[in-house]
């Protein structure tokens, strides 16, 4: 019998049942909730007259629609305030831990889970947010769910799920300087398209992956959904274990030893068979930028926008509509295109290493006058670290201002909206039409590329800043 993949090992260990043609019932270890996708789920269980089955396994934060300035004041927008209040009320009523606004542990759900040690190898983790795959960086099965499923977890700590197919993406070779984890994942998506992994759970493997830090792994796993995958993960190793060791909620003492012994059994067996395997050569990867309205429309920064017909996975009409929205023409180069806004943040790139990387480029330079830049830390803790390390000072000296944590312009539910027709280089994960505000034009990139754009006011190659 062939060995098992890490995906099978974790999945199978969480099956409550599934025999005799019954659907798979998957037990969930960690459930994260936030203000936007949970209120209707609480209303649902209330209506059914049931309790929250395991309130200790759900953790809440307020992140999606919170302002990134003056967080000590009441939220000015009525609807946003009502959602945050509803979350607080529901958490109080059902005994769920809430890291709300102004709590020192507050932040974007996918940033705080790992930094608090709530995200651990071998877990099943869900959240009503598609970027839950971020937690896969720790060797966990983590995926986004809808509100009906949030209700299922609240009621039973379980979900009914069919088992995904397994894909392994092996990243070989070595990365060039100036190219980071964001570039790797944007490159992968540009190769396999936004639907290339539909129906699959992905394991990222190979020497480039084992050489990454935990934060880089989170950036990679985060965008798994952008190629259609249910989730993505990376086998836990010493890098992962030492990241977790002293984290607030990580197991301690004897429990740690026991957990570690189990976690070490998780990596895919050598003879495990995947439904699909891909190989990516890292040496070819340049700093990446997107030019269209889905994350698969990306290219190396020195490249040119394709001409219709060169793009295989998209019809001509969709391709042309996309370029029209962006105000770009086929065959144009991306380098040198003017930029109005820079957004540095989100659960993809709002962690401390991302801020360090951004600051490494802006240090000793000045922000272009016409560029509006929003630097939004992913959490209170990141904000604090940035302060202590002197990153805030570096940023301020260069003409940037650091805001308070939240999802911010990643989805533009609060006031951080890119105005219609304006170009934003953004370290977030989606360049859909209107994602960052109605009519906003988003160019996805790494923190270094975003920093280079903020300084020059146009799309620039970060490699020229070393």
């Amino acid at each position: 019998m062939a060995g098992k993949t890490i995906i099978d090992k974790i999945w199978d260990a969480h099956l409550v049942s599934g025999a005799n043609g019954d659907p798979d019932i998957l037990y969930i270890d960690r459930h994260f909730i936030h203000e936007v996708t949970s209120p209707q789920a609480f209303a649902g269980i209330k209506k059914r007259g049931c309790r929250v089955f395991r309130p200790g396994m759900t953790i809440a934060t307020a992140d999606h629609n919170v302002p990134t300035e003056n967080q000590h004041l009441a939220i000015a927008d009525d609807l946003s305030r009502m959602q945050v209040d509803a979350l607080t009320q529901n958490c109080n009523e059902y005994g769920i831990t809430l890291y709300g606004l102004n709590h020192p542990c507050n932040g974007i759900v996918h940033v705080i889970g790992p930094e608090l040690g709530l995200t651990l190898p071998g877990m099943t983790i869900v959240c009503g947010d598609s970027h839950t795959a971020t937690h896969g960086a720790f060797g966990a099965i983590a995926f986004g769910i809808g509100t009906s499923e949030v209700e299922m977890i609240l009621a039973s700590q379980c979900l009914i799920q069919s088992k995904p197919k397994r894909m392994r993406i092996n990243i070989l070779g070595t990365l060039q300087e100036g190219v980071d984890a964001k570039d790797i994942i944007l490159y992968v998506i540009s190769k396999i398209s936004t639907s290339g992994a539909v129906g699959f759970f992905v394991e990222y493997a190979g020497p480039v992956i084992t050489g990454t830090s935990m934060e880089e792994r989170m950036t990679i796993c985060n965008m798994s959904i952008e190629m259609g995958a249910r989730g993505g993960l990376i086998a836990p190793d010493d890098v992962c274990f030492s990241y977790l060791k002293e984290k607030r909620h990580a197991p301690k003492g004897e429990e740690w030893e026991r957990a570690l012994a189990y976690w070490e059994t998780l990596p895919s067996d050598e003879d495990a068979v995947f439904d699909k395997e891909l190989v990516i050569e890292a040496d070819h990867i340049e700093p990446m930028v997107t030019y269209g309205t889905n994350p698969g429309m990306g290219l190396g920064i020195t490249g040119s926008i394709p001409v219709p017909g060169e793009v295989e996975d998209q019809s001509r009409a969709s391709f042309e509509k996309s370029l029209q929205y962006m105000g770009f023409s086929p065959g144009e180069r991306m380098l040198g295109k003017p930029v109005d806004y820079v957004f540095m943040g989100s659960c993809t790139n709002g962690r401390i290493e991302d801020l360090r990387s951004f600051a490494s480029i802006v240090r000793g330079r000045k922000k272009a006058d016409h560029v509006t830049a929003w630097i939004v830390p992913g959490s209170k803790q990141v904000e604090k670290e940035a302060e202590e390390e002197g990153l805030r000072a570096i940023l301020e000296k260069a003409g940037f201002e650091m805001r308070q944590p939240g999802c911010s312009a990643c989805l533009a539910m609060n006031d951080d909206k890119i105005p219609p027709g304006k170009y934003a280089v953004s370290t977030s994960n989606r360049n859909f039409e209107g994602r960052q505000g109605p009519g906003a034009r988003t160019i996805l990139a790494s923190p270094m590329t975003a920093a280079a754009a903020a300084i020059t006011g146009k799309i620039s190659d970060p490699r020229e800043f070393f």
Binding site: P23, A43, E149, G228
Partner: protein
């Protein structure tokens, strides 16, 4: 929430030949601030449906009186992006009961099934034929039969089989939902909890 039963539907169609329609188009994030499930249909496809200033965009299909019905026909990879179930609520609330496409994003498909909106993944050739026919005859009717898992263009036009998870099919046919099922399995869930590692609590 318990879902409405779905057995068979005969209806006109609204064509949206766009590919990769993402959930930010279906319902933009700024409309996600409600704490109830109602009323999302009003803002369905808002940024395509309305011009700046809120007047109806005459070029968008929902504003074209020639097309009506409970079936939305869309280009492939429909529903990619965010996990917001609000996208499925908006489509349902607007009055659609079926979405036909060559392929769906996974989370959207799950969300749709959970709210009683049937995602029909038909052969791409069928979807193309349907788009072509709708262009010539906007009033074309189709039949969607969940029991036999077939969708057909009426009368006597092309037919496509579609796949659906057997359990989910049963839920829709009977108006059952997952929470009911999971609550009925509580004893098994508790037994599972007893037999497992404790260091996650």
């Amino acid at each position: 929430m318990p879902v409405e039963k779905f057995i068979r539907l005969v209806s006109g169609c609204v064509p949206l030949p766009e590919e990769n329609v993402d959930t930010d188009q279906i319902i933009p994030a700024r409309f996600l601030k409600a704490t109830t499930r109602d009323g999302f249909g009003e803002n369905l496809f808002y940024d395509w449906r309305y011009l700046n200033g809120g007047t109806a965009n005459p070029d968008f299909v929902l504003n074209n009186p020639a097309y009506s019905g409970a079936v939305l026909v869309a280009g492939k990879n429909f529903g990619s992006g965010s996990s917001r179930e609000h996208a499925a609520w908006a489509i349902y609330d607007y009055g659609f009961r079926v979405v036909i496409s060559g392929s769906f994003a996974d989370i959207f498909k799950n969300n749709a099934l959970n709210v009683g909106l049937l995602p029909v993944q038909a052969d791409e050739s069928f979807v193309e034929a349907l788009f072509a026919q709708l262009e010539i005859q906007p009033a074309t009717q189709i039949a969607v039969d969940l029991e036999s898992q077939h969708v057909s263009i009426l009368p006597g036009g092309p037919v496509s089989h579609f796949e659906i998870d057997a359990y989910k099919k049963n839920c829709l046919l009977r108006g059952f939902d997952d929470v009911d099922y999971l609550l009925s399995r509580q004893t098994d869930i508790e037994a599972f909890e007893h037999g497992r590692n404790v260091y996650y609590e």
